[in-house]
Symmetry: none
Subunit: 421 residues, 2 copies
């Protein structure tokens, strides 16, 4: 019988013992019957995403979990662009961008254009498709005042400075080349001309006239930071020949998924926080399993609680994650007949992982390893029946790297290439 894999990822799950939890970790403290059930039915282990003791971001953590190496990391800009649905091509330059309020002399009045939330799609559309010389401008709104800018053309470079002065009442900074290359000079020049042109177009946009009439600050300019160039990077799922999906709220995770050639699935009821609709998530993930070989189901709130140093909140988040996994198990049992592979019944392997630890005491990502599980009838039973950092460390998978973890999952899909004969 062929296998399919559903991998649930709890963002920032790993933690350290917390005083308020009687020196237990949130995962040790939480009630989590479904996560424990998965541990009992397979093999556990602890995983270093990159290296022991080296923290990674959510973007790189997911890239490593999806089978890329650290050398493949294209920087934040390109990943955010993918996250916002801009399909980047090798050589493209992506920038994180803000709508801002500028005065007539390009001084920054408000870096966030009065925290504009509505109409940014129309404003972005007015800039998208602009051409400056031979360079095409792609522009897409993101959450609130944020947006993504992409420059597409020959001979561009990310080695240029930011235009965001980071404070109000300062002029927009001219982008400058950071090296002597013609590409950096060209890119900085084009970017500066984009900012001027954006100011002209946005100032004339009827939506800004309405905002001014209503006493709101106009979103009449853009600021940029964090240039990153899209490398030559295979879509890993396409290259290795499997169908994959990712169900998530967070743009960064959706961006990594798109960059990897995964179908990205999201829904307005996904908040990326503790109030997200975990049952909807479970439903969509099990739906994806009907046509995909590998489905990643991402849950964010555990990470946020770590950043907030909120151990009890993290316990609650873990319990919500457990409920989501329980729903997945229920739905798989109910819908088993419609989950097939090449028209045949198939076996479903469930896996648990995290993209990094976010210990409450640290309020930031750490290099602590994260607990993982691979679970199913046909997975070796190692006698570990509890899913937490310490029990996992005694499991049959041992201490592994993210590359080994994903390679093991892909081997169940039979897409890894045999070496030798």
């Amino acid at each position: 019988m062929k296998n399919k894999v559903l991998l649930a990822i709890a963002d920032g799950l790993g933690d350290r013992p917390c005083e308020v939890l009687g020196w237990k970790t949130p995962l040790e403290f939480a009630k989590k019957p479904n996560l424990n059930r998965l541990a009992a039915n397979g093999s556990s282990g602890i995983m270093d995403l990159y290296k022991a003791g080296v923290p990674v971001g959510t973007d790189l953590g997911h890239m490593l979990l999806f089978g890329y190496t650290i050398d493949d990391y294209p920087g934040r800009g390109p990943i955010e662009a993918f996250g916002e649905g801009l399909e980047m091509q090798p050589g493209d330059i992506a920038f994180r961008s803000n709508f801002a309020t500028l005065d007539d002399e390009m001084n920054v009045v408000d870096r966030r254009a009065g925290r504009i939330r509505e109409g940014t799609d129309a404003l972005a559309a007015s800039l998208n498709g602009l051409k400056i010389d031979d360079v095409e401008v792609l522009f897409k709104e993101a959450t609130e005042h944020r947006a993504v800018l992409v420059l597409r053309g020959k001979g561009l470079s990310a080695e240029i400075t930011d235009t965001d002065p980071k404070k109000e009442n300062l002029p927009v900074k001219l982008s400058l080349p950071k090296d002597a290359s013609a590409a950096a000079k060209k890119t900085a020049d084009i970017l500066n001309r984009v900012l001027v042109e954006a100011k002209r177009i946005l100032t004339g946009h009827p939506l800004n006239a309405e905002r001014v009439a209503s006493g709101l600050l106009p979103a009449n300019g853009i600021l940029t930071r964090g240039a990153g160039q899209m490398p030559l990077l295979d879509k890993i799922a396409e290259k290795m020949g499997y169908q994959a999906s990712c169900v998530a709220a967070e743009t960064t995770v959706l961006g990594v998924a798109r960059l990897s050639g995964y179908r990205s699935v999201t829904h307005p009821s996904f908040t990326g926080n503790i109030d997200t609709d975990v049952f909807k998530k479970a439903h969509l993930a099990v739906d994806e399993l009907k046509h995909s070989d590998l489905v990643v189901l991402h849950f964010k709130a555990t990470d946020l609680m770590g950043h907030d140093n909120n151990p009890l909140g993290k316990v609650e988040a873990v319990e919500k994650y457990d409920a989501m996994v329980g729903k997945v198990l229920e739905l798989i049992a109910e819908e088993q007949e419609s989950i097939t592979k090449d028209g045949e019944p198939c076996n479903i392997i469930l896996a648990l992982a995290a993209d990094h630890s976010t210990p409450c005491e640290r309020r930031e990502h750490s290099g602590d390893p994260v607990p993982v599980v691979i679970s199913g009838h046909n997975i070796r039973k190692d006698g570990i029946d509890t899913y937490d950092e310490t029990n996992a460390s005694k499991g049959g998978l041992g201490r592994i790297k993210a590359a080994e973890f994903i390679s093991t999952l892909l081997d169940y899909l039979e897409v890894t290439e045999k070496q030798g004969n």
Copy 2:
């Protein structure tokens, strides 16, 4: 007291839980008192041959177990040539070859020359030693209609196409260079001339006249595929300075052993299957221990049962393997006085390993790790007293790579080089 090592390898041993075995693995299910006894008297672990989740072939698996890296892998042709007893030199080109029946115009009548089984040694001898310009032809019969062809000379290349058309009633294909190098052109030309010359010599061979008179198809031609060039590769046992032997049935394993500078020991009672004479194997292995520092004792049937998706057969194979190891223990106890090192009594360490997993459900090699044991009075006791995939994963060796495993064994032989001072 100095140490010697006997390493037993059960091919394709690792597996996954099987429904017919009550969701145990064949190794978990089998009665294996001798394997358990070794586990109890030493340290266990799980081993990735190359990388977690990446399957390897028997040839590469054994090369890694013998201390080579994946970059040393010369391809199947050279390993088969060594397996058939053709001692290859760096630069030689090896081909997998068939005796075939050809008509007068070099069309293939039968790719296997009527599945010829007898007299191929005489036919091969008639081709062996042929010279075409400055290139020497080595030719050796293998099982049934199979043979190995080696071209030896300066400036040869493996970048040439196959001559086997893969179907009957097609002409023998002319070998063509795959690149623009002079070496590829030369090698393809020589090979084409070898085929014509072989046709002439074999057609005139009295054995073929007899075959035709008996109404059998003559073996009057050869076909080739899978060119591989022998790299510059040290015989690892010679380079590191130890005496090693390998007792096996399978040509591939014997080939890796010869390539590694091991004495290769086989016997007509070794079938490479469940009916092999395991007691004879044990006897020959213990005999080798009298003059070798490291003896590898290979058992094949476990792999075949995995390929056949035969969990109960694999249980039987494991029990036969266990009996072989039991016989080894018995013989070592009996013959202890004649097993010496530099004329002194020595200690014998027993080790257990596998070259890869072949899960029944997969019917192919997988990247699941394999259980290993290192056992002896002087080996750390880790409290694991059962030899199977899951118990091994809790053992004192942890999760290691084949390179670490063989290096640990060689360190007991005191042939590894101290680094630093």
